[in-house]
Each structure stands twice: as structure tokens, then as C-alpha cells.
Symmetry: C2
DNA sequence: CCTCGGATGTGTGACGTTACACATCCGTCG
DNA sequence: CGACGGATGTGTAACGTCACACATCCGAGG
């Protein structure tokens, strides 16, 4: 910077002013400085800027695993949202490791101004960990409620209910779910707990009985788990004309297991998932699903984080909870051939 | 840091020595300093460290789009490899935008020590752009050859040839490809050009004729493009008993289009893809493919970049080209029911 | 008993940037 | 015509860390 200043015959503060688009720089001076910058190939040193300003211009995103399409697409959305705001994103993979999650929470990600964190193992019972953070944090996903931080989530109950309503509207009456989890400790509010609640609400509202044999557990939510659960469902000889899988990865496994068993989709069994991963468009048949508002989640989460970073520790508004809007995406697997029907919220 | 030093009754520098595990610190002193660190909750300021050392401990990874499973899985592998070396990774999505790629190349990613870059639009003809970089760069993928930088790639020709050999070994004789590109400018060596070369070599080695009607173009390589190309192939009434799709995303579309047309897989038509994305395990039928050695690519690329960062500009070994080892993964879509047969290279 | 050298620890300054307080210039207004 | 104020530009001092050159201590060997 000093070299640029000497070459342009100005002080280095003026160079700084030019680089940062400060006002009160004469156009001629600005041009001279810019030329010197170009000639010398000067580029500001981000570490020094970070040291001086206390900001790095980089945020962290901690997700369990990018190989899960949902998180890859979430990362995509967050990266895009951050780039629009001139921020870099350091991505960290935490895995499904509770200790690793605690470590990330304790330290944040190095070199970042704040963290977007989508925990998979930590739950409501760990909310105490959030009390004395040294950096701005915005939580994504369902696993911690009522903590002292901002939280962006989706309409799990309502989305699940809309998915089941969609199946009911197609005349289905024996609707199974795949992806339930055994009851956890009190206060656990996992996505599976919420989604099964939406399922039960929808059935009850329709005056249909609940049948425990229709509620199948599956964990983790990978395709093979959905396939296994479906094979067991069929082996138990339960009467079933539709399956609501708690995410699209499970649903892909459900499609596969039904296909193996010779069931026609959607004629014999309709299938709907949750997440709207892009792959669902290309399964055979294409997969109906619930779009949980991923882009909105990313936008809002980055906005909240930026605001927290800007307002400094302690200050700023009280913790907020934002639920993104969702819609049912009807495709072939529920017999809604081409209609991308929407059930907005 | 000064607070820690005062509390532990040592100098600044000794705190630094403790933090950095330098030798020549008395165990008792180390313990006292560590206690002060814990009591004060001191955490080193990475910006200052970066300013002082000239390193940030963060590398950049620029990929076209994380929604493409191949790149999501590549990112996963790179993140894991970087974490093992104590490095952070700033991920940038460049899209399929030539100007954006040039901009990334010109500037690197902010706040990073070096860049792993997987270009999608830049080609051999742009190699001049690499001549005067201000930062260490390692290229991933096929699109630039013979430039002045390290380059990690896969065995495109050999992998494609092995895929076709696998089909030939199953007795297939009318093998189509999906994913060719129209001839580009001279010197273009796109993956499609290389993979089609492997295809032709395999056929010629087997004494089979080349049939232009069997070589179908498709771009970009998304599932719908594979489905479209397959529909056209079938509409043209070409005799075909196997399809080699140039990546797994295309192959998923191929499976779909064949299914729509009532062709049985693999009885009527065998299908093999390329990339070994994890989703291929869960299609119906499961997808045979070529594992291009993604983990090896990530490991080697990060190693090379770390080495370049360490050796400073200009120094270090001459540009290297590393080709990862590959293997054919035989699954149901080529009739190899359960065997995860390997054809190592 | 002295010297020497390894182990241990210290002070100072500089990395590149920006904020602060301050100078200077020039046109305008009373 | 003098004073005032906005526009424009300057010097200096930090931000937190680590490297350098340098002290000091202590035990071993001559």
C-alpha cells in the first residue's frame, strides 16, 4: 500500500480511502491512485484488514455431511446468499458426532465472524451450551428450541400435514410413514417427532384411525434405511396404499423397495417425500415432495447472522425464530403427472 | 494475549510459545500459562496471526455448483483432507460462467493461501491466464492441460475404456454413449472428448464397428439431458443393448427414459455411468459406474497445494500431473447383481 | 572455580490496514 | 474583504501476533 501511495504521490490513508470507496476523494486523485494500484498489481491484505477492523468478512457454515443432498443444496443456497453480501463461507463438516458438534460450538470455525450451524446430534437438552458463546451464532434445523440464539427452521408439522393431506386428496386411506424414531428423552423435538405429529393430525382431521403398524422407524435417513423399512412393512403384510417418507433420501429407498416388490407407483402405492432435493425430479417415477423453503432459510439465516455480527455482542434484538414457507410439490409418485401443484403456507 | 501474559507472570512471547507448542518452555511455566489461558478464555486472533505469518491457514475450493452430486462429493473429500491437515476451506461456487471463472482465477478467493479450482468453461486455450498468478493454484479436472500449474485429474480414457470393456464382457455388442459434445475448437480436451476416445478404443480393440448413430450428444450433463438423448436414441430405432453414460447424473436420466419406454434393465439394455456418486447405489436398478478415485484426487490435490504454499512463489518442483486410480463398480444395471467387481488400474 | 552451552525466558519491532485528530484549500456568504 | 465550512488530504498510532536478537540460569566438564 505504501508503494501505491508513493507512486500516486498521496498518503497511504488516501489509498485506503480509494480502495474502500470513501467519499471526499477528488476524482482526479482517485484515478491516479487507481492507476498506481493497477500498475503495481496491489491487492489489499485481508488479514491486516481483519486485524484492524475486527471482522474477517467470512462466516462459517457447519453441516453434518455434504454428501447428503439436502445439506449440499443448503450449502449451495447459503453460499449464494453470502456471496450476494460479499461474504466468504468456510464450510465445516461435523459428521454425526456429538462431541464434534460440541467442539464446533465451543470454538466456532476459525477465522470467521459468526457461524451458521445445523446440528444433528445436539438437542434441546444441550441448550445450556449456547449461553456463553463468544461469537454470533444462528442455528439451522430443528434440534434445539428455545435457546438464546436466533434460529431458522421449517414448518415441519404443517409441511408433514400438507403432505398427508395431499395423499388423502388422492383418495389414499392406508398411509404409512417411514422415518419415525423411537421416543427420545423428554423435550426432544426432532424433525421425525414433528413430522409424525403432522401426519397424525392430518389423519385425525380426516377421521381416519391411527395404526401403529403404519408408523415405521428408519435411521439414519439414508436411502437404504428407507428401503429396509419398506421391505419390513411389506413383509408384515400391512394393507397400505401410500407412503410418506420423512425425507427424499428415504423416499428414494422406498421407491426402490416398492419397485423390487412389484408394486406399481402410484397406482398401487403413492409415495411422497420431504426436502425437494433436485434429484427427486429424476427418479422413476418422479418424486412428490415438500419444498421446505431452503432458499428462504439460507437468505434469512445469513441476514440474521449479518445483523448479529453488526450489532456486537449482547446488543441487538432478542432471539428470533423464523419458519420458512413451504409448499407441496406434486409429481408422478403421487399420481399428479405434470402439475407442480402448490399448497402455500 | 497480554492479559494472559500478565496473569501468568510471563512475557508475551512465552504465551505465544505455549500456544504454538514451541520447545524450550518449562513444563511448570507451560502449565501456568495454560491455566491463565483457560481462566481468561483466551483464543488467538487468527487475523493477527495471518498478518504476522503471511498465512491464513485457509485454502479456497472453487467448483461450478454444489448441487451437482459429483462436486458435492468432491467438496466433501476436499474438506476432509484439509481438516486432517488443520486447514479451513472457503468454498466458492463459480457456476458455468466463463467470466466468473476468469475472475476467480485472477483474484483467487479472498483470505486464502491458495486455491483448488475445478473449472468448467476455461480450456486449454486459456492456459495463458495461469502464467502470472499471485498465489498457489492446483487445478482439478480435465479442462486445461499443459499449463504451468499442478493438475490432478482422473483416467478419463482408461476409465471409459474399462467401462465399455465391462459391457463387452457381459456380451453386449451394440453399445451407445450418451454425453458426447460436438467437436470443439482445436486442442479442446474435454472429459467428453476423452471418454469417447476410450469408448472407441474399446470397440476397436474388440473388433466392433463404430456407428455414429450410437454416439449421442447431451449437454449439460444433467439427468434430463440423459433422458432426452435416450428418448431420441430410441425414437431413431437404433439397435442398442447397452448405454455408457458419461456421468452418473446422465445415467440416472438414461435409466428413467429406458424405464418409460418399457426396456428392461439390464436384460434388454445394460447401463453404466461414470463418477460413482453415492446416489447410484439406490437407483432402481442400482447403477454400475466407474469410481474415478475422488478421495485420492482430493488428498493429492490438497497435498500438492500445501507443498506449493510451503515452498513459496517460483520455488518448488516443476508442474506435476497426477492421475488418480480408478475402478469399475459393477452393480445391477449391468447385470452384475451383487459383485462390487473391481478393475483396478 | 571457571567456562561453556543448552534450556528457558524476555523486550522490541514490524506485518498491512484503518481510525482519529488534525491540516489545508477554496468558494461562498454576510 | 474576512471568516466560515465543506471538501480533500495527511501523519500517527494502534489492532494481536510472532521472529529476532538478546538475556539469564543452571549443570557439567576441565
Amino acid at each position: 500500500m505504501r508503494d501505491v501511495a508513493l507512486r500516486a504521490r498521496v498518503s497511504n490513508k488516501t489509498v485506503s480511502n480509494v480502495v474502500n470507496d470513501h467519499p471526499h476523494v477528488h476524482p482526479a486523485t482517485r484515478a491516479r491512485v487507481q492507476q498506481a494500484i493497477d500498475e503495481l498489481g496491489y491487492r489489499p491484505n485481508m488479514s491486516a484488514r481483519g486485524l484492524r477492523s475486527g471482522r474477517t468478512g467470512v462466516i462459517g457454515l457447519a453441516v453434518p455431511d455434504l454428501r447428503q443432498p439436502y445439506f449440499a443444496e443448503l450449502a449451495d443456497a447459503v453460499l449464494a446468499a453470502a456471496e450476494r453480501r460479499g461474504l466468504g463461507v468456510i464450510v465445516g463438516q461435523v459428521g454425526a458426532d456429538r462431541d464434534h458438534e460440541i467442539a464446533v460450538l465451543a470454538n466456532g470455525l476459525r477465522q470467521t465472524d459468526g457461524l451458521l450451524f445445523s446440528p444433528q446430534r445436539l438437542g434441546t437438552e444441550d441448550r445450556g451450551l449456547l449461553d456463553h458463546l463468544r461469537y454470533p451464532l444462528v442455528l439451522l434445523g430443528e434440534r434445539i428450541f428455545g435457546g438464546p440464539t436466533d434460529h431458522v427452521t421449517m414448518h415441519n408439522i404443517e409441511g408433514a400435514r400438507a403432505a398427508v393431506d395431499h395423499l388423502l386428496a388422492q383418495g389414499r386411506r392406508r398411509i404409512a410413514v417411514v422415518g419415525a424414531h423411537p421416543d427420545g428423552r423428554t423435550g426432544q423435538l426432532r424433525p421425525s417427532d414433528l413430522r409424525i405429529r403432522g401426519y397424525r393430525e392430518a389423519l385425525e382431521a380426516a377421521g381416519l384411525p391411527l395404526d401403529p403398524r403404519l408408523e415405521r422407524t428408519a435411521a439414519p435417513w439414508h436411502p437404504e434405511d428407507g428401503a429396509d423399512a419398506t421391505r419390513e412393512l411389506l413383509a408384515d403384510d400391512v394393507d397400505v396404499d401410500a407412503v410418506f417418507a420423512f425425507n427424499d433420501a428415504l423416499a428414494i429407498g422406498v421407491l426402490r423397495a416398492l419397485g423390487e416388490a412389484g408394486r406399481r407407483i402410484p397406482e398401487d402405492v403413492a409415495v411422497i417425500g420431504f426436502d425437494d432435493i433436485s434429484n427427486g425430479r429424476f427418479t422413476l417415477p418422479s418424486l412428490s415432495t415438500v419444498d421446505p423453503g431452503r432458499d428462504e432459510i439460507a437468505e434469512v439465516a445469513v441476514d440474521m447472522l449479518v445483523e448479529r455480527i453488526g450489532s456486537g455482542p449482547g446488543a441487538g434484538p432478542p432471539p428470533r425464530l423464523h419458519k420458512a414457507s413451504f409448499r407441496v410439490v406434486a409429481r408422478e409418485s403421487t399420481g399428479a403427472a405434470l402439475a407442480e401443484g402448490a399448497s402455500a403456507w
